[in-house]
Every structure is written in C-alpha cells, then in structure tokens.
Symmetry: D2
Subunit: 331 residues, 4 copies
C-alpha cells in the first residue's frame, strides 16, 4: 500500500491508448499532427491564446519557462522550499546561465507579495547586487496547499508593478484546480508561463509549458532543442497531454487523488502539519508511530524526525486509503 | 511510402510490451528495478564493465557524454558535418558551458587521426587558443558510413597519445555493428563514452550513454538531473532499452533497416554519393527526378539541389523498398 | 575627511614608482620579467611553493580561485553576508557556470565548521540536491573581524574531512595578518587558494590569486584568459604586487589602516557592533548622530537605519582620525 | 629594435600624467568624475549620443559588446581569422553562454556581406541549427587592412536587413581612422557597438566599449560587474581614455604608428602579403631571411613558415624603422 509519491504512479489507460494510437510514423519532433494541436487545446482550456510546448520533466518545464523571463545576470524569487531550489539538482543555475534564486518565506511553502518585498526591498539598486527578474510560485505548493485566485492575482499585480515575470510551477496544477473548483484560468490568472504537470497525474513522461504570451514561446523552442528536450517522436509526448486534456481526464484524476488525501487528512485531525488541499498529507508522528504504520504495510517517506509525508495519486485504491485512515486513527 | 527518416518510425511491438509490463509503480527516477539492470546489461553486451544512463534524446546523450571529457575552456574535434555541429541547436555549447567544436574534414562524414592532427597541430600551446579536450566520431556516420574496427582503434590510439577523450555518437551504432558483423565491443574499441541509440531503431524515446569507465558516469548522473533529463518514471526508459537488448532485437532491427537500404543502394548504382553501409542512401538526382519519385508516392528529403536522402528503418516494408528500387532504376 | 571605503584610496608612491619603472616594453601578457617573478615572491612570503596569478579585481580573483574547486553542478558554502554573495553582481554564478552559493550564519560575518555542518548536513545525498564542493571564508571578514590561525585550521580540517576545497577571500588579508602579528602562512594555513588583495591597501588595480597547489593554477590560467582578464601589459600588474610585497609595504600599509581604525574604535566604545580587528568600524548611531558627524565633514556609509560603517585606509590622515574619534566621543 | 607587437608598447606620457592627476580618492567603481565624463566624450567624438564603458582588455570589450546582441542560443558571424575566434581563449563562448562563432572567409581578414550570406544562407530555419544574431568585423583587420566607409555601410545595411547586430572590434580603430582620414563616425557607421582600443595605442590597460544605442549599455553594466571587470579605482581607467581622446592624441599616435609601418611597407615592395593600411606589415620571407633580420637586431614574430609579421607602435623610433626598411631592401 504505497503512499510514497505520485510521481511513480501507473500510467492511465487512456494515456496508453492515445500513445498507441500515435504509433504510425508522422513528422518528427513537434511537426506531427498531435503536437500541432497543443496550442489550440490549451487555448480552449484557458479561454485565451496560449502557446504550449511539451517536455519530459517538470524540472525542464520550470527551467525553460523561467528562461523566458530571466537574464543570466538576474534572479528569481521563490519559496525557500520550492522544488526549483530544493529538488532540481541546480537545474535553474544551468538553464538560466548562472542566475540566482532568492528565497522567500511563508507558511506551507506559499508566500505573499509582502514576502517578496522583504526579499527585494533590501537589494541595492545598481550592478553590485543581483536584481530580481521574476517570481516563481508553486500551485499547489510543495506542502499541498493551494493559492486562492485572489492570492495569485495579488502576486501577479505585484510582479507587474515591479517589472517582474511570474512563473507558476504547476506540477500539481490539476490538484489545485480540483480543489478550487474554479476555471483553470482563475487558478493562474496573471501568470506569464505555467509548468502544467501531467506526469504525477496519470501521464508517463510529458509536461506542458504554457505561455500566455505566445511570442515568448518562440525563443523557448530554441532553448528546448538546445537542452536536448526536443524528442524526435514527439507525437507520443503530445498524445499523452491531449489524452489528459480530453474529456477532463486531468481534472478527474486530480479529484480522485485529492479525495484520497482528504480521507487520510480527515483521519489525521490535529496531527496535520498543513491543510490538505491537494494530494499530499503531512502528518506529525513519531518514529515509533511511523514504524507501526510501516508494519501494517504502508509505504511513505519520513519528513524530518517527527513527521511523515503521504502522497496519493489518481490510482490510489479506496481500500488502501481506508486502511491507512484507520491506521492513523488508531495510532 | 516514407523514406524521410528513421527517427519518426513506429515503436517495435516488443518495446511496447516491455513498457506496458513496467506500468506498476516502482521507485521513481532511476531507482527502479529495470534502471538498476542497465549497467549489467551493457556490461554483458560489451564484455567489460560499463555504467549506462538513459536519456530521452541523442542530443542529450551526446552532450552529457562529452561533458565527462571536456572542460568549459576546452574543445571537441568533430567532423564538419557531425550531428553535434549541424543539428543539435547549439546544445554542445550549452552542456559544455561554452566549449568549442573544432571541425575536421573527411569523406562521407568520417575522419581520421590525420584530419584531427590537421586541426590541432596549428593550435598554439598556451592560453590564447582553445585547447582540444576530446574527439567525437559518429558510428555510423551522418552519411551512413561505418568506421572499421581498425579505424576506431587508430583514432583511440591517437586520442590517448594526445590526452584526449574519445566519444562515439552511436545514434546508428546498431546499424554499424550489423554492417560490420563484429562484436559490439570491436565497433567502439577504445571509446570512452558511447551514445548508444535506440530511438531510430525501434525505441520510443530512450537512448543510452555507456561509459566504459564507470567512474566517469557518476558525475554525469548529476549533470543529467541538472539538465532536467532524470524522468521520474524512468522505468519506462529502462524498459525500452532492455527490450531492445533482449534477444538481440537491436541487431535484428538494424539488419532489417540495413538490408532495405542495401536494396535501394543496389538499384542506385553510380548515382550513389556514399557507400551504403547502414540505413541511409544518398542519391544523386535532379529536381525533376525527385519530383518524379515523389509523384510515385515516395517521401524523402532533398539533400541540396542535386541529391536526395532516403532513410530506411526497422519497419520499412519490403514492397515499398522494392517499389523504390524499381523507381530509381527507372529514372 | 573620507571614511567611505578603502577601495578608492590613493595609490602608494612606491607602487607608482614601480609601475613607471616597468614602462619599457617587455613580453606581453604574463611573459614579462615581473610577472615571472610572482611565483617566487609568494613562495618566499609563504615559505612554501605557490603559484600566483594577477587579476584586476577581487571579484575576478575570488571567482577564478573558486573555479579551481567547484564544478558547475556543485556549491560553495559562504557566509550569508560574504562579498561573493552580496556584492559581486552574481559573478560566482557566471564563473562557476551556474554553481550555487549556500549560506552559513555566524557572528561578524565569520563562521565555523559547525555552521557549515548546519548547512550541508541536511543535504540529501544524490543528484536531486546540489552537493557542496568548496567553502569560502573571508579574512578579515566583511565586518572587519579576523579568523585566528586555529579557526582557519579548524575550517581547513573540516574541509579536508569532507572533501571540500577551501578558499579564502583575502581582500583585506594584509589587515588580518597585521592584526594577528603572525606569519602570513599561519593566517591562511590549510587554504587551497587565496585571493590576496592589494587594491584596498595601496595598489591601483592588481590582486593576486595564490594557489598553494601550483598544479591548480594551470587550469586557471586558461580561465583567466577566457574571462578577458589577461591584460597585455601585464607587467604593470605584476609591478604593483611586487612593490607591495617588497620590504613589507603590504604589512606596513595594513598596520597604518588598522591603527587608524583602532583609534576610532577606542572612541566608539560600547557603540561598536563588531570588534575592530582590521580597518573597519561599525558604529551604532542614529540618523541624527550620523547627520551630526556629516555636518562636521566626515564621509561614510549608512549601515542600515541604525548604524554607520567607517573604513580607514593606508593613507588615512592622523588628524582626520583624531577628529573623527573626538566627534564620536562627543555624540 | 622591437617590432613584435603594439600591445606591449610603453604608455604615453600624457596617459601617465592623467593617471597621476587622478590619484586623489574619488567615488569608487565608475561613480567618479572621470568615468562620468566618458559618455559625453564619445558623444562629442562621434557626433551622436553614445554610452561608453571602460574595461581592461580587448577580449572583455569584444565579448561584452557582443553580449548586448547575442542570445545564448545564437551565433556571431566573424572572419575565420578574427581575434574573437583565434586569440581570445574561448572568451566568446564564456561571455555568450555557449553561443557559436560562425566563420566567414575573405581577403586580408576582411569580409563582405556576400561572405556572410555564404555562411548564413545554408542555415535551415528552425531550432535544429544555431541562428545568427550578430556580425563582428575588425577595423583595422587582423592583417592591418581597413574597411572603407562604404564597406562598413554595406555590412551595416546587410545586418539591419537580416535583423542582426553589428559589432566592430576596433582594437586598432585609431589606425583605421588615421588611414582613412575620415570622421571617426564614418569608419564605423551603422555599427551598434564598437570596441575602441587604446591599449595598443599608448594606453596602459583601458579600452572603451561604445554603444551607439545608449539603452544597450545598461544591461552591459551588469554584465561587466558580473565578469569582475568593474575596477574599484575606475578613475584610472577613465583617465587613460580621456587622455587619449584629449587633443586627438589617439589619432596622433595612430598616425605615427601607421607612418612607421608605411615606411617598412614601402621597402618591402612585392614581398607584402597584404596592403599596409594600418600598423602591421606581413612580409613574405624565408627562414634564412628572417634569421638575417634577427641577426641585425630586429625582433618580430614568424607568421607561418614563409612570412614574418612586423608591428609598429606609437613609439616606434625613426632610426629603427629606417634601419628595418634598409634591412628588408637588402634581403
């Protein structure tokens, strides 16, 4: 009964089916019929003109998105526990040619314009200090918490007022939209570029970078190739994404994962370290308690010495979730 | 009847089967059981200790392999028409942090130690000129021609004598081995790192970087992650490669592609611009002749004004090949 | 009466004299007779074999020194207020090709092995997090405080035990040695590369990078040229440094600057925010008090809202120092 | 009697005088009064608004100028024997974050729009090949030959028509203007950024980067600092440049050097490999003849097996020049 991560879950049958349907040779790279559908698909989803590029990982999506906003001598403000800071092996430094990450604080890995101001206000104007070029927020956050539309809008206003780009790491954007119950566009209003995740949500190895200014996408097409991310059989990448968008599968899968996490969260009660708004549960528990859970067959990661991280996925099984909820209640 | 490229061909059924068999969640990234088999699989294939990493493109494979040999202030000697020079969108400059490519000449996109010497001998010692750090050769070459084992060995001796690393771009390594009829190890003897291609040969989106010095692989694991190429569901990458290695599928597929090209080449006779040793045919023909071929339903690329490039793949159909051979004979 | 900075002070007459004596054409770059003396001069000074390169700025010195220890996928641990983090416009990101700075805490911009451990111990092994490659300490620190020989040795032991390089930013190394009254070698024992500053101490535009492993210098010669720092009339660079080393001018100048700061510090008493161990005084004082000082003709920088930074130089005039001391006493 | 290079010549007395006059402390970096005069000085010289930055080397000047025009995924077209390609240790790869140099051919290290077209026309549109972003020409060329105003204008028209930036490496711009006898602005009409050399022409270690679009200079101020080229005692840099511009010293010095080269060139007659238009003479001569010249006390570089390079400077002595002319005539 695995609650280790959503990023290794099985691939959804509809995705498999779409990939197999794409088997016949078509134009290589992103010249195939499916890849050429992507812009329209996201334009329809967001109700405004978009340009979208597939890449195989969230790391590449985040870094290429940021490359459209950040010069090598600039900086990105992100949360101290953001994936780009903590878990991408220094990829932003590589893709941004040495640009810096500046770290903001905030509860549950979310942060506010005030937190950004606390970082950038002390930066002296001039060439001696690295100047901010962009802000990156994560929707849902690394602790599974969701920016409300008005919070996103406030950050977008701040970014615009300060001449900064705004990137959203949406590795779990689907879970955020499922939680908010809003239009996708509301969950990322004012964002310049969105890393829209599918791998954790039923895909195999395809994420989308969505540019709300299509002109910005053009330069990134060069950068994607230059990073070795332009796969020759790109039709299989596009197929995954289109299958996920088709009939709202992306949202159904996210709802299922969220519901599973919600069930666990309800059982956790006051043990919860963060509100459960997506598909992650952070649980206060001792080493003994963790051992007890593992003894009952549950897999998950320790989170420091006094906590556990439990992640659900689109395919979490009801009986596993119920069993885990019972086990937590019984601690 | 497509002879445009092997890089958009269908995925072999055995590869599909292996991928589907890998669907159940396993450890993420390259911690899964299949990824952990790779080193042993290549060690068995080459009869010596290897370390192997999967990546999704040949561009990434080439550039990461070179990153193990070339410092940012160094240079790689490659053929003037090498893929890394002509077709990778500047990826070597990105991955090698500004290192240079120095261009050697030679027939059919192959080159010799003498050609390397012609490039490096005029380089003044000292800091004013970029010094060579590595050589990169392509097996089979960009014109479908194959380095004989003794040619590879001569280049390896030269590299070693000059303190240079030796990389082999083996996007069509399988075709080369199929042509040579030798052990895989003989086709790359003395090479430090091999980009072993599978995508053009029946895979979907997985290539292997094989390091014959396993210690060199360790640094590249960091670089792969940093380049956003460490996919979270890496088991699907490993599955493709293992399926190709299993029962010699890689060699069977390459033999099929080579045989198809051989048939076309035989019909082409004196029109051939390069010997047909792998799965590519470069045909001298006028614009009118190309139009005639296209009129009969054949797809292929122009190669300059006076030639055509025809590429076969593992799944080229006999009747298409025969039809093309007849059409060429009839020009 | 300027106490703004030592980095804009006049050039010492002996340095001028040495530069003028070097006017006649000699071999360009670092092939001239003076540049070729540098290794021996520093070898004599430190009592062990060294290789030394001139560069025109401390930023270049720091970054080139670090480039000998840090791979693009690695990190440097430095103090949160280190010059490389706060004042070099992102130069480490440029010279290290995207490597990270990781920030340690400590009093007076000094830090300890324990503080380094607090930074690196939580770093998970493996490719997802940037691994440390080097430590950089500043002697004297950005707050004018000096690492005692045993503190340097403890950091060197820690670095060695963890396989990390150790760099010392010695923009004010002379002031540190003057304070310690020890051999120069004791003030940097165990350090791999030292940025030895002369510009703040009577030079015009020449700093030295001293490598205690001469082999490490060789690669950096290439990197220096590649960074556009190999001046063609390098003899004027070497002349400055040799003049400073000659007859202990570097130490005399530092002693003068330290003495001036000491006089101010004595007057400051309990207002001191940091011990005065080099040539900088950080003084707690209100905006009104700062206005009062400025009204009396003293120039200096505000340091946040409640403090002032006063810096002396080799040519601070006794009467200015006395006047400042009186003015501070009279606040 | 040295004719090795102009880049190690003595510093002109007026430059020394100006540097010494700048000794008193002023604002650091480029905040001093002299540095703040630069824009106006070049604006006056060129008769149009300019922004100018000092740096210590031609390599830094060239690379920073190009950084204002070339993205990391782009390319610069330059001559096959351009300094940026042959003599800067790979600095363009560093400063441009991996961008490429594409090599054009032409007599005497000059090239034409047609030569650029020959390089860029075969580049396929799209992401697989590196696209050109800028052209760099050298005035006077590496063989001491000068672009006529109409040649510069033609290149500028071509650049503009193709959306490319135009950089001029003017390490010997003064010699070119002296040869042309035209306004400085005519010698670089249509150029976006000029590396204006002073070091070879009587300066010590200061070159100017002149941006004819002042807005472009702003980003390069950040890049200069980030490259460690913002010297703290920048007033000595500005002083050199202002002294050279004052009363046309730059032009007088260049005329003197050109005249010396002209005298040698006249004696060389049919031995000349390139027209003598600046201060370099390339002479066809055998090893025995070179030995004979050296035997008479002349210093110079071999240029391959069958030629010599003789360079004059602002301070070449008449009697040395006459003696060399006689010696060449007597070969």
């Amino acid at each position: 009964m695995q609650f280790l991560s959503d990023n290794a879950a099985a691939v959804h049958p509809a995705v498999w089916k779409a990939m197999m349907a794409a088997d016949a040779a078509d134009a290589p790279y992103d010249g195939d019929a499916l890849s050429r559908e992507l812009d329209a698909a996201f334009t329809a989803l967001f109700g405004r003109e978009c340009a979208a590029l597939w890449v195989s990982t969230g790391t590449a999506a985040n870094c290429l998105a940021l490359a459209s906003m950040v010069q090598p001598h600039g900086a990105v403000i992100c949360h101290r526990e953001a994936h780009i800071e903590m878990d991408e092996g220094g990829a932003p430094g590589f893709y941004l040619h040495g640009a810096k990450l500046l770290l903001a604080d905030g509860e549950s890995a979310k942060f506010t314009p005030e937190a950004v101001a606390a970082v950038i206000d002390p930066i002296r104007d001039g060439v001696h200090q690295v100047q901010p070029h962009a802000i990156s927020i994560t929707q849902a956050s690394e602790y599974g918490c969701v920016y409300r539309p008005e919070e996103v809008a406030a950050m977008a206003d701040f970014a615009q007022a300060h001449g900064l780009g705004l990137h959203m790491d949406g590795a779990r954007f689907a879970n955020a939209v499922a939680f908010l119950g809003c239009e996708p566009s509301e969950a990322c209003a004012g964002v310049d570029a969105l890393s829209f995740g599918f791998v954790k949500n039923g895909g195999m190895g395809a994420e989308a970078i969505v540019f709300f200014d299509p002109a910005a996408a053009q330069m990134i097409r060069f950068r994607r190739k230059r990073a070795g991310h332009l796969q020759s059989k790109g039709r299989f990448m596009a197929a995954q994404i289109l299958a996920m968008l088709d009939s709202g599968l992306w949202l159904d899968n996210a709802r299922a994962a969220n519901a599973a996490a919600g069930g666990i969260g309800a059982a956790a009660g006051t043990r919860l370290l963060h509100p459960v708004e997506a598909n992650e549960v952070f649980l206060s528990c001792t080493a003994d308690e963790r051992a007890a859970l593992r003894g009952q067959g549950f897999g998950f990661y320790d989170w420091g010495d006094d906590a556990a991280r439990l992640v659900t996925a689109w395919d979490s099984q009801d009986e596993h979730v119920s069993a885990l909820a019972r086990a937590i209640s019984g601690l």
